[in-house]
């Protein structure tokens, strides 16, 4: 499979980038050379213009010979996410109670961007957070919550799902903390009735499963994606 421009398998793509180069006579050639180095053929530099002193901005089209086999793509297809209204209706009909979700930025992580984007009213990119869902009781515990505290709160609130955010991944600290959380939950005997979800810019589903979580959500995740996953999984567990 190749990118589709205006003919199947033409591999046509459009890219834009900036080179730290004054937009003189060499700029056009440099843009072309860079695109060629990226593996594009029949490169067409549609635009090469200055972006302040010492920078040139490019829009480039070219054919890319690379191809993939769609059947070999791994990863969980979670299906289309439901809207907030649909998720609320789905929970009301099937779970027949509010889903209780506890979230936090774990351990040493002080960044609440991720967890806030998913949980807070405000949400992310125009998609409301879990707090806004009528059929979810969502509690955002904020930043630097130790695994022990998170488990304690999850138990106290009788949570259905734990949502943890890990933004900082320096020295693999996220792996240590995420592992610790799973071990604690297992030790408390809560693992079977607690969905465990991890999110962060450098988290993916594969890593999440490897660490013993039910799902991992990476960059670009919307609150509705997480809400849909929680709702579908909780309802499925009833069956």
């Amino acid at each position: 499979m190749k990118a589709y421009g205006d003919t199947r398998d033409d591999g046509m793509i459009q890219i834009s980038f900036t080179l730290p180069l004054s937009s003189g006579s060499k700029a056009m050639e440099a843009g072309k050379a860079y695109a060629a180095a990226l593996g594009l053929q029949d490169v067409r530099v549609a635009c090469a213009k200055p972006a302040g002193d010492g920078f040139t901005f490019y829009v480039v089209y070219g054919m890319c010979g690379a191809e993939i086999d769609p059947d070999s793509i791994k990863g969980t297809d979670r299906g289309e996410s439901m809207s907030r209204e649909e998720t609320d209706a789905f929970l009301k009909e099937h779970l027949k109670r509010e889903a209780i979700v506890v979230g936090a930025a774990l351990g040493s992580d002080a960044h609440t961007v991720g967890i806030d984007a998913i949980m807070n009213m405000k949400g992310f990119a125009g998609d409301y957070g879990l707090e806004r869902y009528g059929m979810m009781d969502a509690r955002n515990l904020g930043s630097q919550v130790e695994p022990e505290e998170l488990v304690r709160q999850a138990e106290r609130l009788k949570a259905d799902a734990i949502l943890v955010s890990q933004v900082v991944t320096q020295k693999d600290i996220h792996v240590t903390q995420l592992t610790k959380l799973v071990e604690l939950v297992e030790a408390e005997g809560l693992r079977d009735r607690l969905l465990m979800i991890v999110g962060g810019p450098y988290i993916d589903d594969g890593l999440a499963h490897e660490l013993g979580y039910d799902a991992g959500f990476g960059r670009g995740t919307l609150p509705r994606d997480v809400a849909t996953f929680i709702a579908r999984r909780l309802v499925k567990q009833l069956e």
């Binding site: 980038f17 900036t18 302040g52 002080a110 961007v113 405000k122 992310f124 933004v167």
Partner: protein, 512 residues
């Protein structure tokens, strides 16, 4: 384009806002905060870090708190020690913090107050010098007057890279550069120190970072022949300290809202009210334009349903700013272009709101914020939204135009994103330059009806808040649908009632 605004209603809104802020101003005048006291020491010259990585101002104020004398203000004991030792404020604070100087018992008397006044005079002279320098540069390099100021952000986390990007943006046409702060700096109860190269989603606001960026922008301003303004954030737990450091390092604008910290950062309400008041008095003295944060309401609440909350909040912000001695010319009241693009005639409603705000606050440098909520990651669709935003801005004569970035909600802007935003805005504002002057609204049409409705609902909301009180309104989630309890929030322990004999010599000298 002019709206036929009910001026009596607008006047009633102002009166109601005064009724709302009045009781809080009494509460504010009876209180101080750790950050206010640290500000006094910083303005007097306490700079740098104490041994334990805490800023010196924090360590000194903490010592005074432990000694149980902070309720009378940091000024008295420090001035008394300056007299007693003949040392500088810096040395006195260092010794106080390290415990090598005792907190004096007697901090009264004219000598103490005279020293406090002298130190305050010196600080005010430094602020005046920065203010004069700005005036001279603006005069020399010229001023943008016939179109909105184009405002972009940099947010690399590394001040040196920020400078590279900021200079490039200035060369591409930016009039204002805001350095976004590192995530959660607003929750730090201290101002970090020195030039910083690591931050998340932004760069720490520090005095040294302010100085480095201002210097780079001065050089760029001279080269391109236009004074480029520098913007940062006096919000969170250190509002007055950031205002003071910004004033010393000649920042031109500060984001400074009377309620943002309460609503969006869960900071204790009284702490925020006290801090915002003192920070605005400093901004007024330094002629720093403040930017308020009403745009944020519409990122959580619906832009059609909650439009009147923005206007009501603007009246409240104006009232608080007036009480802090700010002239209207420094009040960059905020609002945003956030109506769902799928709504029919949504653009007309945006025009109604922008024009309404423009006319309600004719002298204020209104700040217009771009779409964020409906930027989906489809950068091409987003670019069109930004174009409509640019058009609304130029038609309604907004003053500060935060350029929409096509990669909003994806990552911090790339160098090229900023250039595209600036060139796009320039294009729209040139090609449609006088459009606003040639348009008339139709009586009973969508724009006129919408504007009247928003103002009417704003009045009703202000009336309701004036009856129950602002604290109660915050607890009910009137703004942004977020509820905040009067006693809740961070930093409450750092807000205290002034004891008899309290002295903050800046309070005597600053307007407001």
């Amino acid at each position: 384009m002019q709206l036929n605004i009910d001026t009596a209603r607008a006047a009633r809104c102002r009166e109601l806002a005064g009724k709302i802020t009045g009781p809080l101003l009494d509460e504010i005048s009876r209180r101080s905060t750790d950050s206010v006291e640290r500000t006094v020491l910083r303005l007097w010259g306490a700079d740098g870090l104490h041994d334990s990585d805490a800023p010196l101002a924090n360590a000194a104020v903490a010592r005074l708190r432990e000694a149980g004398v902070l309720e009378r203000g940091a000024a008295r004991p420090v001035a008394a020690l300056v007299n007693q030792t003949g040392s500088s404020v810096q040395e006195v604070c260092e010794k106080l913090a390290s415990g090598t100087l005792d907190v004096p018992d007697d901090v009264t008397g004219p000598e103490v107050e005279n020293t406090a006044r002298r130190l305050t005079d010196d600080a005010l002279s430094a602020l005046a010098a920065a203010r004069e320098k700005r005036l001279a540069l603006v005069k020399k390099l010229g001023e943008v007057e016939d179109r909105p100021l184009l405002y972009v952000i940099v947010a690399t986390g590394n001040i040196h890279q920020d400078i590279e990007q900021a200079v490039s943006a200035a060369e591409c046409g930016a009039d204002c550069i805001a350095v976004i702060r590192s995530t959660a700096q607003s929750l730090l109860d201290y101002v970090p120190h020195g030039a910083t190269t690591e931050g998340f989603g932004g760069t720490y606001a520090t005095r040294e970072n302010f100085r480095l960026m201002r210097r780079a922008l001065d050089e760029a301003s001279k080269r391109i022949g236009r004074y480029v303004r520098l913007v940062n954030y006096a919000s969170g737990l250190c509002m007055p300290e950031i205002a003071a450091l910004g004033a010393l390092e000649r920042l031109d604008m500060l984001l400074n809202d009377s309620m943002y910290g309460i609503i969006f950062r869960d900071i204790n309400p009284l702490r925020t009210f006290v801090d915002q008041h003192f920070s605005r008095r400093i901004c007024a003295e330094a002629r720093i334009t403040i930017n308020t944060g009403e745009d944020n309401y519409l990122t959580t609440a619906d832009a059609v349903e909650a439009a009147h909350t923005v206007v009501a909040s603007q009246f409240i912000n104006e009232s608080f700013a007036l009480a802090a001695g700010m002239p209207e010319e420094l009040m960059g009241l905020g609002h945003a272009f956030e109506i769902d693009p799928a709504i029919e005639n949504g653009f007309l409603m945006e025009l109604a709101q922008a024009q309404l705000v423009r006319q309600l606050f004719p002298k204020a440098p209104i700040k217009f914020m771009p779409p964020t909520k409906h930027m989906t990651g489809d950068v091409f669709a987003g670019y069109r939204l930004d174009c409509m935003f640019d058009l609304a801005s130029v038609i309604t004569g907004q003053t500060i135009h935060l350029c929409g970035i096509l990669t909003e909600a994806l990552h911090t802007p790339l160098l090229q994103d900023r250039m595209l935003a600036l060139q796009g805005a320039r294009y729209v504002m040139t090609t449609a330059k006088n459009l606003g002057r040639e348009l008339e609204t139709v009586p009973g049409g969508v724009i006129a009806t919408r504007a009247a409705e928003v103002l009417s609902k704003a009045e009703a909301l202000l009336k309701e808040i004036s009856e129950t009180g602002l604290m109660d309104a915050l607890a009910r989630g009137v703004f942004a649908d977020i509820k905040r309890e009067p006693d809740g929030g961070r930093g409450a322990e750092g807000c205290f009632e002034k004891a008899d004999g309290y002295l903050n010599p800046f309070e005597e000298r600053l307007a407001g």
